[in-house]
């Protein structure tokens, strides 16, 4: 699977974990956290996991552990109550431990949202001598408007739809992440175009091209050149646009090579 992006040496690190993915799916599928439809969520979870594997993202081993846990819960749920293997707290719902963990984590996710709002309001605050609260750049995929799973979810759907129309692999054409980075940088950052994810992938017929394009998007988000936006709380199409940071760098007339940090050579 990795041969498609062999030009792409740096694995994108995903800082989100399996609990983030589960909470994302619970929200997306609009299901009750206390009564998770385990079969549906388990399938969705594995589907997203497969996309992450296909993209060869640097994901935590915990994702596989959770996959196994979900399968186990699923199999226990399918057994009639009296035939379930004796658990420590017998008669207990096999989902209970997971639900507890999710609910606990959700509290901190909500608290993080409040922190985000507070941080936002500090942008307009200056102290004597123009002193301004600012910190160094946060590394990793700095996604705020949409989560990595929003992106993966859309990509997974795009792939599914494309598969129905049968992908043709044209062997004479070779796609690379670097080329796609250049292309998107030109369209979105230099020309300032807005690109919807679906429109971007619409005419692509090669899976390798799709994978390279998607990795290029993630890379540009990581470099803070491109921002992904979505109607808040909606699972609609994602729009890619120039980031505020990119705008400033363009104003400073930094050469693209400097922004890319030698990436173009790859």
């Amino acid at each position: 699977m990795t041969e498609e992006n062999e030009d792409y040496n740096v694995k994108l690190e995903v800082f989100e974990g399996p609990l983030d993915l589960l909470l994302f799916l619970i929200k997306k599928e609009e299901v009750d956290i206390y009564d998770i439809p385990i079969v549906r969520i388990c399938d969705q979870y594995n589907e997203h996991l497969n996309v992450m594997r296909m993209l060869d993202l640097n994901i935590a081993g915990e994702f596989m552990v959770m996959s196994a846990t979900l399968m186990l819960i699923k199999s226990r749920m399918l057994l009639p109550v009296e035939e379930r293997p004796e658990l420590e707290d017998d008669e207990e719902d096999p989902r209970l431990d997971l639900v507890r963990q999710l609910v606990e984590y959700k509290k901190f996710k909500d608290a993080a949202n409040t922190l985000e709002e507070m941080e936002e309001s500090q942008h307009n605050v200056f102290f004597p001598e123009g002193d301004h609260v600012a910190i160094g750049k946060d590394s990793g995929l700095a996604l705020r408007d949409v989560s990595i799973f929003d992106l993966l979810s859309s990509f997974s759907e795009i792939l599914k739809r494309a598969q129905d129309e049968e992908l043709t692999e044209i062997f004479s054409e070779k796609y690379t992440v670097a080329d796609k980075v250049d292309y998107l940088l030109n369209e979105i950052v230099r020309k300032g175009k807005k690109k919807s994810l679906h429109a971007l992938f619409k005419d692509m017929r090669s899976r390798s091209e799709m994978v390279c394009t998607f990795l290029a998007i993630l890379e540009l988000i990581r470099m803070r050149q491109v921002r992904a936006a979505q109607e808040p709380g909606e699972f609609t199409d994602i729009v890619l646009l120039k980031s505020e940071e990119a705008e400033e760098e363009l104003l400073e007339e930094k050469p693209m090579e400097e922004i890319l940090g030698g990436y173009g050579d790859a």
């Binding site: 922190l115 941080e119 307009n124 004597p128 609260v133 990793g140 705020r144 989560s147 705008e247």
Partner: protein, 242 residues
């Protein structure tokens, strides 16, 4: 000391405070302000010298006057309490013009995983990395390292647990970054703490009832059960006492 140390014009306390806040880059605590009045009093005579009597209450009162003066006159500035001290700053409604003037776009924002990790540390400090990881369900080393580098988090000690893992907590810079007076100002902090205490009480109560059950059992089963229950109790108590 002599007549030449007599100051001709003595500003009001609130004026002096406003000037102090104008000239400092760090949050200034009331205690520091009182000390400045006392030290200045040593060099001058007259009214300035009388400031040696200055108390925390005096300064706090003058700060309140200053706050309402600034608000009343609408001069674009306000005094706020941040990270255990006071600072002079613009009214946030004027922010967009300042950003333009100082060529500051929106400053780098923290990513969601960073904010989540930070909120776990803020609400549960002091805590070790493995505790963060068990809540987020994923490794936290690189995020914690980043937060340390950004100065938002610091090592506050070591746990007594085997391997003596580091304990993390938030910094002064954390409060400043989010414009917080203190950790208590974090929304739901009181509730979060109450829940924690509640849970500990529940755990204790449950242990209590388990003990009772165990001892009831022990009465029937003989001495073996009793040994088990006391060993269990010691183990269970350990985590939340440390």
């Amino acid at each position: 000391m002599g007549m030449h140390n007599q100051l001709e014009v003595i500003p009001e306390i609130k004026e002096i405070l406003c000037a102090m806040l104008f000239a400092t880059k760090e949050p200034l605590s009331v205690r520091q302000m009182v000390n400045v009045f006392k030290r200045t009093a040593e060099t001058y005579e007259g009214v300035a010298a009388s400031f040696i009597e200055m108390t925390v209450a005096d300064v706090e009162k003058a700060l309140e006057e200053l706050k309402s003066d600034l608000a009343e006159h609408r001069i674009g500035l306000e005094v706020v309490e941040i990270a255990g001290g006071y600072r002079l700053r613009n009214v946030t409604s004027a922010g967009p013009w300042l950003r333009e003037l100082l060529e500051k776009g929106k400053s780098a924002k923290l990513s969601k995983p960073a904010l989540e990790t930070l909120s776990i540390i803020a609400y549960r400090q002091p805590l070790q990395r493995s505790q963060i990881e068990s809540i987020r369900g994923v490794a936290a080393d690189s995020i914690v390292r980043n937060l340390l580098e950004m100065g938002l988090v610091k090592v506050v000690g070591r746990s007594d647990l085997p391997g003596k893992p580091w304990l993390y907590g938030t910094t002064q810079a954390f409060l400043e970054h989010f414009g917080l007076k203190s950790l208590d100002e974090l929304p739901g902090m009181a509730e979060m703490r109450r829940n924690l205490e509640q849970r500990e009480l529940e755990l204790k109560a449950r242990e209590g009832s388990l003990e009772e059950e165990d001892s009831e059992k022990a009465e029937g089963d003989g001495s073996d059960g009793q040994d088990e229950s006391s060993a269990g109790e010691a183990e269970e108590n350990d985590p939340h006492e440390s």
